[in-house]
């Protein structure tokens, strides 16, 4: 009960502090239309839109903003966010359970005994090796996803026969049930007399999940990329390679970073697709589920806390990079809509080309 209240207070406090710091509470600024396919596309795609899409605040919108419904929706948002973060926070709190405490409240004192147990495994499985595997796998998946999705984005920019079919195949990869992918790859490896393991079969299974996200984000980014910039570069005598290196890549860089974030996190946390394919070496989520089934001790929460903190660190690092990029490009994501239409790309180009030289 008290934890729930605490969570809600934290959320309101976070939002309040943010509003206070940015001054958004007192001075509503024009609502700019954002266009984004996914969460990450929002953070990156929106930066292209911001400068061009801001319009005077429509009266209708301003009037709609302060009705009874407005406060109901605020309440829904706060409650949903509490629901979203509540379980995570409970796990984090319980991981500091005293040495005699159990898997549920009440806390029998506080200690870091369970964290110690993670690093000196006696009762639970050893999580250090699975963490290493998950980390390597996530990095490899991240690199492959970014690279392949970027190339596919370029291909779609040119257009090619059969592009529709490839698109639907990519979407299908999201829809095909995860265990079917896992099962098919597993049976395929058996058929070839090969042993399925996390770095072979597991890698392929993860890519069927991360690549569609990557490709869809890249398509959304490229759809917002003004062709006339490349043409201008070509007119100035840029070779295709220079065009790619100095024009296209700097512009889509935030999108690529978002794709990388999806690739890393979705792979690092993937369970269903890996469960049948890890062979001898479990990945982190598979190992965690294995422990849940057998010997659940509060150290499981400690592992949950550690892996969540790790994920959060990756996410905030990514946001930091995106923020830094947008700051360098005056008028980007966080900079406000101050850049006049038409100049936004010019600003970006000089901004990023300058560092290359």
């Amino acid at each position: 009960m008290s934890v729930g209240v605490l969570i809600i207070v934290i959320i309101i406090a976070v939002v309040g502090v943010y509003q206070w710091m940015t001054g958004t509470a007192s001075a509503p600024r024009p609502a700019a239309a954002t266009a984004a396919a996914t969460g990450a596309a929002t953070s990156s795609g929106a930066s292209d839109e911001e400068g061009t899409a801001s319009a005077p605040t429509p009266i209708a919108v301003r009037e709609m903003a302060r009705t009874k419904g407005y406060y109901i929706r605020w309440t829904v948002f706060v409650l949903f966010t509490a629901f979203l973060y509540g379980p995570l926070i409970v796990v984090m709190v319980l991981s500091f359970q005293g040495p005699d405490g159990g898997l549920t409240f009440p806390m029998q004192g506080t200690s870091i005994a369970w964290f110690r147990e993670v690093f000196n495994p006696t009762f639970v499985g050893d999580f250090r090796a699975p963490f290493g595997r998950s980390l390597i796998l996530a990095i490899v998946v991240m690199i492959i996803t970014s690279f392949v999705a970027f190339l596919a984005g370029l291909a779609y920019r040119r257009g090619f026969a059969g592009s529709g079919a490839v698109f639907y195949l990519t979407v299908a990869s999201l829809i095909v049930p995860s265990f079917l992918v896992s099962m098919g790859i597993g049976l395929g490896f058996t058929g070839l007399n090969m042993l399925a393991s996390w770095w072979s079969a597991g890698l392929g299974a993860h890519l069927t999940w991360t690549l569609p996200f990557g490709v869809l984000i890249m398509l959304a980014i490229f759809a917002r990329l003004d062709r006339s910039i490349e043409e201008a570069a070509r007119d100035q005598g840029a070779t295709p390679w220079q065009n790619l290196r100095h024009v296209v890549i700097p512009i889509v860089a935030p999108g690529l970073i978002a794709v990388a974030l999806f690739g890393f996190t979705l792979s690092y946390d993937e369970y269903a697709r890996t469960s049948l394919l890890t062979g001898q070496g479990n990945t982190m989520p598979v190992e965690m589920v294995a422990v849940t089934g057998t010997a659940a001790r509060p150290s499981l929460y400690a592992i949950g806390t550690l892996t969540t903190v790790f994920s959060l660190a990756i996410i905030f690092l990514t946001f930091g990079i995106l923020y830094a990029i947008s700051r360098r490009r005056a008028g980007g994501l966080m900079g406000g809509g101050a850049v006049p239409e038409g100049e936004i790309y010019g600003t970006k180009l000089t901004g990023s080309a300058g560092t290359d030289q």
Binding site: Q19, I175, V181, L211
Partner: protein, 288 residues
Amino acid sequence: MQKLITLFNRHSAYFQVTPLMLILGAFLIVPLLVIFTYSFYEFTGYFTRPAFELTAWIRAFTLDITYLNYWATIKITAITWAITLVIGFTLAYFFVFDILTLRFKIFLFLLTVVPFWTSGVVRMIAWLPFLGKEGIVNSAIMGLGLSDQPLEFLIFSEFAVIMSYVHMFTLFMVAPLFNVMARIDRSLLEAARDQGSNNWQILTNIIIPLSRPGIIIGTIFVTALVASDFTAIRFLGGGKLGSVSMTIANQYNSVQFPFSAANGLLLLVVLLLFVGGMMRVVDIRKQL
């Protein structure tokens, strides 16, 4: 050599899309073909051997359990869909129309996205101390004197499973709805207001119809994810719940490969038919 380079440049799009095709071919298409082959194999009771039999398919269509499972899955999917739609629509509306600055919009949106990038397993484990017999919710209810014994339905039940789905999948409804709503031309709302429409009329006559593509994309995501999940059902369903995907996973684990292959493909066909029907209504490519 020069010829080769010209050839490469002219067809570079094909080379650029090749890695994607190779990966999806090797790890999506081939595995599905393998499963298709296995669905005709013979299961002797101990092991599977190559054959051409329709046993697995006949069983898949004739056993009552198939229909019971589909009924259970459809029910859970429909409930989850309805809840995620209502919450997702409310949140997207909130982000787009209630929050006036872009920065704050993105900040609040990211606040709902961040958990998506953390471990699903951890979030699932987290329900135990939350909803369990001695969990927070039950302690609170008993502490307040609302009930003198723990509520059993909270955990290891359909309730817990649906709650976990809402927790994991609402984002897939919010994101596409946020995307389409942000593109609604504000002058439309203004015009409607000038003509004397109230908020409700604006909502039902402008915003909901224009949000349809977002609703459909969200529906596709939520349906596919719920219908193919077997982990939440296994963990939070308490073994009492049946579902299509869990039966398939159980058959696979007890090495009845042909049966799980046939059932799995059946589920895939049902899903693709559903998604295909949805896609007739909306062109996803235009939404990017």
